[in-house]
Structures are given as structure tokens and as C-alpha cells.
């Protein structure tokens, strides 16, 4: 029987806790991708993985002269599963984490990764805490956050001069905070709040709330719901023609995935979006072409943001010429992406939140070869009006 002295054990544990961020040069650059391939947001993980695959493929599958090896795990849209999978991946010596989809998973992964000084690249989760109250030296978000998406709603409503609005937000902190921000910003501008409702997440029927919105005299309803809840609201609103009387919009309400589920009811619904495949710039056109060639489909916002974040990160890592993870972090927090798929993106060193122009779009009928229903970008907001000042 092998005996281990207490001193040896303590020394071993201590060495784990203070593991250096630099290791001997490995055979490959391992990315630990933890996303949702099943559960409520299962469809998003597949898009994110595809976006990353294009980013890796675009650079010949290599960074720092070594092959890139992306390992993928499904968190089943549950934070406790994300922690298990992340712990397992750390024992496989990943150099970084990518993910997750839902914010609770991302926050859990960030806590684990910080102890091991592993960078985390976030391109989907929107909770403000990721780059706010719970920010980490090793976590970066290259996509928009909840604040910027809600501020896009505010900017749009101010621009079109709406006088009276109704709010429907899921009874969940992030969603309620989002609606509070919209209400406070527009209230200060003299916009009347006709009513507000906070149905629980997973509410299967919004018909009564839709009827309240209809009777409220509001010109627009701000719907702070996502996923199944957002689809159900839009679909049921369409069945009584709500969009003919009250404009339906939200910070994260509509994209091509939701349109497919809501069908014709989605037409005319407006939303902040993070990315769109029709954006006219050289990098985006190249990305869309590669994506369509590989997957015979147009990239959705999650694929676009995953591609953009990973391509940016890998460029910075490669340029650092080092396997020292702290050097990657130092370089990335001061970097700018002049030619991102969304235009100029700037990483804020103070909170590791990238800022970029906000997109405002409407669901319209698409002409072939585009999807039958697609988003049309109507407006663009500069970063300084939709992102909070860096604290």
C-alpha cells in the first residue's frame, strides 16, 4: 500500500491552488467548449459550436503553431451539469473555456476557471453580472449584454417617439431588471407606462396578458421574455392580430430561430439583435460563405457571435507568441477588433465587456435563398448610448 504523508498531501494541494498560468508547451491548444446541446436552450449550442468550427478552420486549425483541439460538452441547460463537465475538462488540461449558453452556467464556470487561471470566452450569456458584479480577470464577453439590449429598446422607442408602453417581463431577476431599466429610462423621458406584468418563466399561455395589453391603449409592448416564453407570446399575440394595433418588441425577443417557431405571427415583431448574416462587411461575407458551404444554412446570431469572439481571441493568442495565459489575458483586455462581423469591437479593460454598435431589426419575409422569415436590420445604435460607463 502506498502511503502519502500529510506534508506531501498539503504540498500537493497547495501546488494545485497556486497553479501557474503558464505550462510547458503542449502538443495542442485545447478549447473546452461547454454549451447546451439539450434542454430548454439545446438548439443554441449547436450554432455556437458551428461558429467556433469556422473560426478554427479559417486559420488552418492552428494557433501558436499547434493544432487546435476543441472538446465539446453538453450542460443540458443546467448550471450544476456545467460545473461537473468543466471540472472534468480541467483534468484534460484545456487551455481555455468557451461558453456557456445560460448565464448561471457561465457564472459557475467562471468561478472554477478563475481558480485555475483559465480564460473563459463568453459569446452568448447576457447577464450583466458576468462583466459586472461577478467579473473575473480571466473572463471576457465579446457579445452584447442584457443592459445594452434593453438600452437598444429604449433608444428605438425614443427615436420613434412612442408615448405609451406596456411591459411584460418574466418573473426572474435579469428580466425584471431589464424591464425596470426600460421603464426608468423612458419614464424619465415622459413616456407613460400603461401596465406591466411579470408571469413566471415557463408560462404556457399569455392570452389573458395579451388581452390586457390590447385594452391598455399602449402603442407598444416591450416583451422581456426569451426562448419558449418569447415564442409562445409572439405566436399567441399573432392569433388575435395584436401586432396590427400594438407594436411588439423586446431586447432579445426575435431572431431566425424564433421566427421559425412563431411562423407568420412573427412578421413585424422588432427586437435588438446581436448579429445578422446580412451585415455588409468583408469579414462577415467571408464568414457567411464558409458557414453556408459547411452547413448549408445561414448563421444565426449565436453562430455569428461565437465565430467572431473565437476568431478574435485566437488572433490575440497567436499574436502573443506565448503559452502564458496571463499574457493572453493582458493582451485581450486591451485589444480592438477593427473588422469584426459587427463592425468595430473594443474590449473594455475595466470589466472585460466588448462594446460594439447595437442592431435593431424587424421580422420580415425573406426572399430566396434567404430563410422564409428573416430579420431586417432597421437601425444601428452607437456603443456609447447602449453600454453603461465602465466601472
Amino acid at each position: 500500500m502506498v502511503s502519502i504523508s500529510r506534508r506531501t498531501l498539503m504540498a500537493g494541494a497547495a501546488s494545485l491552488l497556486v497553479a501557474p498560468a503558464v505550462a510547458a508547451e503542449p502538443d495542442s491548444f485545447r478549447i473546452g467548449g461547454i454549451v447546451s446541446f439539450s434542454g430548454a436552450y439545446g438548439i443554441i449550442g449547436q450554432s455556437m459550436r458551428r461558429g467556433v468550427e469556422i473560426a478554427v478552420q479559417e486559420r488552418g486549425g492552428k494557433v501558436l503553431g499547434k493544432p487546435i483541439e476543441a472538446m465539446w460538452e453538453d450542460d443540458e441547460t443546467k448550471p450544476q451539469v456545467a460545473v461537473q463537465k468543466a471540472t472534468r475538462m480541467m483534468s484534460s488540461n484545456v487551455q481555455m473555456f468557451f461558453g456557456a449558453v445560460i448565464s448561471p452556467s457561465t457564472l459557475a464556470i467562471m468561478k472554477l476557471a478563475e481558480q485555475r487561471k483559465l480564460p473563459v470566452l463568453v459569446t452568448a450569456s447576457a447577464d450583466d453580472r458576468i462583466t459586472g458584479a461577478d467579473k473575473s480577470r480571466y473572463a471576457f464577453r465579446t457579445s452584447g449584454n442584457s443592459y445594452s439590449e434593453n438600452m437598444s429598446v429604449v433608444q428605438h422607442l425614443k427615436a420613434v417617439g412612442t408615448k405609451k408602453i406596456y411591459g411584460v417581463a418574466a418573473d426572474y431577476n435579469v428580466m425584471r431588471d431589464g424591464w425596470s431599466l426600460v421603464k426608468q429610462q423612458l419614464g424619465a423621458s415622459g413616456v407613460e407606462i400603461a401596465g406591466e406584468d411579470f408571469p413566471p418563466i415557463g408560462t404556457g399561455d399569455y392570452a389573458v396578458i395579451i388581452d390586457k395589453v390590447r385594452g391598455s391603449g399602449a402603442e407598444a409592448v416591450v416583451v422581456v421574455l426569451t426562448g419558449n416564453d418569447g415564442v409562445t407570446f409572439v405566436k399567441q399575440a399573432g392569433s388575435v392580430g395584436l401586432n396590427d394595433k400594438v407594436r411588439i418588441m423586446g431586447p432579445n425577443l426575435m431572431d431566425e430561430l424564433v421566427e421559425k417557431a412563431a411562423g407568420a405571427a412573427a412578421l413585424g415583431v422588432q427586437s435588438a439583435i446581436r448579429y445578422h448574416f446580412t451585415l455588409q462587411n468583408a469579414r462577415n461575407q467571408r464568414f457567411v460563405e464558409s458557414y453556408r458551404k459547411a452547413f448549408n444554412d445561414y448563421p444565426d446570431p449565436f453562430a455569428g457571435e461565437a465565430y467572431d469572439g473565437m476568431a478574435w481571441w485566437l488572433d490575440v493568442v497567436d499574436k502573443s507568441g506565448s503559452w502564458d495565459r496571463d499574457k493572453w489575458v493582458d493582451a485581450f483586455e486591451h485589444s480592438r477588433r477593427e473588422d469584426s462581423v459587427d463592425g468595430l469591437k473594443t474590449m473594455q479593460a475595466c470589466d472585460h465587456q466588448a462594446v460594439s454598435p447595437g442592431l435593431w431589426a424587424e421580422a420580415v419575409k425573406g426572399a430566396p435563398p434567404m430563410p422564409e422569415l428573416t430579420m431586417k436590420v432597421l437601425d444601428t445604435f452607437p456603443p456609447d448610448v447602449i453600454y453603461a460607463a465602465c466601472r
Partner: protein
């Protein structure tokens, strides 16, 4: 009035599911966790048929028949060998079937959302004074009432209904009288799963078709069945309407308290009438 109509439509949709669940429990004594899975499968199958034919009505007829056949196969192959054993085995089995249905559906139809449009004749909103409601919801109310009436007539007024009720009360005695109880059980399970699939197709034009759709509604179904009394169809009708109306009026006046209200009623019934609101006293010799 709009709220009342919406509540009735929710109740009728719940009834389609909970009636099958209640029948299966009453006849087979099985707490069928797979019921939500069959509901989801019915919606996906309906979507597929609507895609192929472009006809909602065909989807409404064919999908429940296909799923009922699948239900019969499941009963014969998996549940039948377990009737004599501890009910825990049956519960575990139905739980396993849920996972099987989930994975099969994911493989066949993928992760993306799907949708069925309401038939054109029911696509518009109906205006009656200050009431505005989608025509499709009125259809759900009418269709649900028809199904409830048909169930009542079959169970209470036909020889088949007498057999089912007798077998629910004492299957061994019915078997002694020469009735093939095994076939009867298969028929009831198939009918119950067919009803679940019917609910799935009916729900599809007002809800997204997605893999999680069976989980959330199953909780409401179990509440309906418990409130009404396990195995009691009249109770299921009353329970479904009660839950539907609580959800609708809750959304009208206290949206964030809908779940608390619904679960409170459920707990209250369990505390005061643990055998359900419509349980009848058993007579013993």
C-alpha cells in the same frame, strides 16, 4: 368574459391530456410519466403530417392514431410483463420511456422549434362586443367539450364503458367472467396515449413545438388528476376546468402569482380531500 373563455380553452386542452392519464391510472393502476412524452410526440407527428399534406385536419386525425398504435405496442411489450410487480417498476419504466421518446424525437426532428399554423378558417380573431378572442381558442373549447361528452357517453352508457369501469374496480373478477382483460388494458392505454397526442396537435397552433413541451404540462395534468380523483373522468373534467380558470384569472389579476395560486389549490385539495374532489366512497362487504 374574455378571461373566462381563455380559461375554458386552457381547461379543455388540459382535459384532453388528463382524461387519458386518468383512464390509464384507473384501468391499469399505472402512474404514467410518459404521458407528456406522448403529448410531445403527437405534436411532432402532427407537424410532420401537416408538412407533408399541408392539412391541419389530417394531422389532427392521423397523428393520434399513429401514437395510439405506438402506445399499444409500448403497453404490450413493456408494461404487460410488469403488472404483477411492485408499482415502482411501472413508474420507473414509464420514466425510461420518457427518455426514449425524448431522444428519438431529438434524433428525428432535431433541436429546432417547429410550428403548425391554425387552419385558415380559424386563423382570425373573433370580436363580440368588448370580447376579442382567437377563433382557434373557441374551437378548442368546442372540441374539448365534444371529447368530454363522448368520453362520458362511452364510459357511462355503453357496454364497453361498463367493462372498463368494472375492470378498473376489480380486473380479476372481470377476467373470471371471461373478458380478455389484457386486451382491454392495451386498448385503454392506446386510447389514453391517443388522447395525449390529440392534445399535442391541438396545442401546436398556440404553442411552439419543442422537446420540453411535455414536461411543463405534465405537472398541470397530474394536478388535474389528483384534484379530480385518480381514475375519475368526471373529476378530471372538473379539475381541468378549475386549473384552466385559475390560470386565466390569475394571469388577469396576479400574473406573477399564477403558479403559487395553482399549487395552493392543489395542496388545499390534498389536505382536505386527499382522494380528490370527486372521489366516491368505496363500499365494502
Amino acid at each position: 368574459m374574455t378571461t373566462l373563455l381563455i380559461g375554458l380553452s386552457l381547461g379543455m386542452l388540459l382535459l384532453l391530456l388528463s382524461a387519458g392519464l386518468s383512464l390509464i391510472f384507473g384501468m391499469l393502476g399505472v402512474v404514467n410519466f410518459a404521458h407528456g412524452g406522448f403529448y410531445m410526440l403527437g405534436a411532432y407527428m402532427g407537424f410532420q403530417i401537416a408538412q407533408w399534406t399541408g392539412n391541419f385536419w389530417l394531422a389532427l386525425v392521423i397523428s393520434p392514431l399513429v401514437i395510439a398504435a405506438a402506445g399499444a405496442a409500448v403497453e404490450v411489450l413493456t408494461l404487460r410483463p410488469l403488472y404483477g410487480r411492485d408499482p415502482v417498476y411501472q413508474m420507473l419504466l414509464t420514466f425510461g420511456i420518457v427518455l426514449l421518446i425524448y431522444e428519438a424525437t431529438r434524433t428525428l426532428w432535431g433541436l429546432e422549434y417547429h410550428s403548425i399554423a391554425a387552419p385558415p378558417v380559424l386563423a382570425a380573431a373573433v370580436h363580440m362586443g368588448s370580447i376579442e378572442i382567437s377563433a382557434y381558442r373557441l374551437f378548442i373549447i368546442g372540441f374539448g367539450a365534444l371529447v368530454a361528452a363522448a368520453l362520458f357517453v362511452v364510459l357511462e352508457r355503453t357496454p364497453m364503458g361498463v367493462l372498463i369501469r368494472a375492470a378498473s374496480a376489480n380486473s380479476a373478477m372481470v377476467a373470471c367472467l371471461g373478458v380478455d382483460v389484457a386486451k382491454l388494458r392495451t386498448g385503454v392505454f392506446a386510447f389514453g396515449t391517443g388522447l395525449a397526442a390529440l392534445g399535442g396537435v391541438i396545442a401546436a397552433p398556440i404553442s411552439p413545438i419543442q422537446l420540453e413541451m411535455g414536461f411543463a404540462i405534465l405537472i398541470d395534468c397530474f394536478m388535474v388528476v389528483v384534484i379530480g380523483g385518480l381514475g375519475n373522468i368526471r373529476g378530471a373534467v372538473a379539475g381541468a376546468l378549475l386549473i384552466g380558470l385559475i390560470r386565466a384569472f390569475g394571469a388577469r389579476y396576479l400574473a406573477q402569482w399564477i403558479d403559487v395560486l395553482t399549487y395552493s389549490v392543489f395542496v388545499l385539495v390534498l389536505l382536505t380531500r386527499p382522494r380528490g374532489l370527486f372521489a366516491t366512497a368505496e363500499r365494502h362487504a
